[in-house]
């Protein structure tokens, strides 16, 4: 039975399986009618999932877990049946600042980097796309690994991905960690330089997942499974490098992403790293646990929380995966 479901995405390269499934008729082939809603920020996605204005969304895995844990307002009943993507985020520093940094920024250069940071009268302002984003947790993990205190040596602010390049260009932030294509856009416009890709911080890290509003999924098990199937079929197509130009054209048309820049982070691209899609689909509880442990490390999650249980409550691979 056809059923129109509202699926939220942001303007990002890793929304590719969603727009491809729509244009290739994969949703229709699975008998599910999907209305794609392009949202301006992650908080909009999370709020709309919580209060019934969206049925499903593509979102960063740790944000889904944090929303379910009640870390950003009331606990949200969410189900994550599959992953959407791996990797694809870039750590970017403004072009004016990059000349001051030791290069390459290896662990050996860490003392010089720390010394430079502590010489700053005002801690440089660095943007991440949401507090509970993969970007923030991976950036903080990396900063910690080179001996930088992200709360003392830097000021971390939150700016939605589609806004980070404008803020960097305007000089209101010194750098950012955001998903593709925004790092490549910063380089293409000359406003920033990519220091590293998120896969070099944590190889093969899960980036986006599919999150379903718990009540909706309970009432619509058939469409929920059909949605997962269609997106997995789309992931396999997105992984084919020869399709990347067409995928970039589609992302330009559907999400208004710059067609000449987007291919850099797609399979076969020449960016700092390329997004993997189908490999992200099977859920690995260890990956969710890693992000939750990082949240606990920064004291956003109390020691009383049972992290394994939290992951088990959210990950529901009982929805049949092919």
């Amino acid at each position: 039975m056809p059923c129109s479901l509202r699926l939220g995405v942001l303007r990002l390269t890793d929304s590719a399986p969603v727009v491809l499934a729509e244009s290739e008729g994969l949703f229709a082939a699975e008998g599910v009618e999907v209305a794609i809603q392009v949202e301006p920020s992650w908080a909009n996605i999370a709020d709309k999932l919580r209060w019934g204005a969206l049925d499903a969304a593509v979102m960063p895995l740790p944000l889904a877990l944090a929303a379910a844990a009640g870390l950003r307002g009331p606990a949200t009943r969410l189900i994550v049946p599959m992953g959407i993507s791996r990797g694809g985020n870039a750590v970017v520093v403004s072009s004016t600042l990059v000349t001051c940094l030791p290069e390459p920024l290896t662990p050996a250069a860490a003392p010089a980097f720390r010394a430079w940071l502590r010489d700053q009268t005002v801690p440089p302002r660095v943007a991440v796309v949401h507090l509970f984003s993969t970007h923030n947790l991976l950036l903080r993990y990396w900063l910690g690994s080179v001996g930088v205190d992200p709360d003392r040596d830097l000021e971390i602010v939150v700016i939605p991905p589609e806004r980070v390049v404008a803020e960097l260009t305007a000089g209101r932030i010194a750098g950012f960690c955001a998903g593709a294509p925004w790092g490549d856009v910063a380089e293409a416009t000359g406003s920033g330089r990519i220091l590293l890709g998120s896969s070099s911080i944590r190889p093969r890290h899960t980036e986006k997942c599919l999150a379903l509003a718990g009540d909706w999924a309970a009432d619509h098990p058939g469409p929920a499974a059909a949605l997962s199937h269609a997106l997995q079929a789309a992931q396999r197509l997105c992984d084919q490098p020869e399709r990347s130009p067409a995928v970039a054209a589609l992302l330009a048309r559907r999400l208004d992403l710059p067609e000449e820049v987007t291919p850099a982070a797609l399979p076969g691209g020449n960016g700092i790293e390329q997004i993997a899609f189908a490999a992200a689909a099977p859920l690995d509880p260890a990956e969710g646990l890693w992000f939750l442990r990082e949240m606990r490390r920064w004291r956003w999650l109390g020691v009383d929380r049972d992290l394994e249980q939290l992951v088990a409550d959210v990950y529901r691979s009982h929805l049949p995966l092919i």
Partner: protein
């Protein structure tokens, strides 16, 4: 029918605001880049002396405004790009003396849904209790919703105007090309629409496009 002198927002939308006898005034930070709507909101929310409303200035980052003004409540257009910054303030910044917490009334999901649908989100900063805030927020949500409806009507009116313009242009083409009178041109458009199962403006569009492609 609405009385012409009455404002377009619901008359009772601020009736639950804390009364004048309350000694402390609720300090509201309003972050809305839509200048018209912000003006209406300020007027409505400050009608009662118990609320003080501060607006963010253009270009000012929301987290900075919260740090500078120390409001009790932040009322924000959900789609505003820096709205997400507030979610991180508690954890991210040591500048904030009080936590910033999303306002949620779990006992009133209808209110929360209405707020999301209207596109307004609110955050509790400092020591005001949710019960004290609720009337202010109810007023804000009612105003956002009313504004949204007005805008939908405006958008519909604009579409109707554009369609009428399109039909006029198509008629002019038909009059010039086929030597039709104006009623004949209109009847031709109507006949084409009926026989093809399309709307008259859609037929008019194809006439105009055919002319442009020549």
């Amino acid at each position: 029918m609405r009385d012409g002198r009455r404002p377009w927002w619901p008359a009772n939308c601020w009736s639950g605001l804390p009364s004048n006898s309350t000694p402390s005034r609720v300090k509201i930070l309003l972050a809305d880049d839509d200048a018209d709507r912000a003006r209406y909101l300020v007027r409505a929310l400050t009608r009662d002396q118990s609320a003080e409303v501060i607006c963010t200035t253009p270009g000012e980052m929301l987290a900075d405004a919260v740090a500078a003004h120390r409001p009790d409540v932040v009322v924000v257009d959900m789609t505003r790009p820096d709205r997400d910054a507030l979610e991180g303030v508690r954890q991210l910044s040591s500048r904030m003396p009080h936590p910033v917490v999303m306002f949620v009334d779990e006992d009133d999901p209808d209110f929360m849904q209405a707020a999301i649908d209207a596109g307004v989100s609110s955050y509790n900063v400092g020591s005001v209790t949710p019960a004290e805030m609720k009337p202010v927020l109810r007023a804000a949500v009612a105003l956002f919703r009313r504004y949204q409806q007005t805008h939908v009507k405006l958008a519909e009116a604009e579409i109707r105007l554009k369609e009428r313009d399109l039909v006029d242009r198509a008629k002019a083409i038909l009059i010039r090309r086929r030597k039709f009178s104006e009623p004949e041109a209109y009847h031709w458009l109507r006949r084409e629409a009926m026989s093809s199962g399309k709307r008259i403006p859609d037929v008019a569009l194809s006439v105009v496009q055919a002319q442009e492609s020549e």
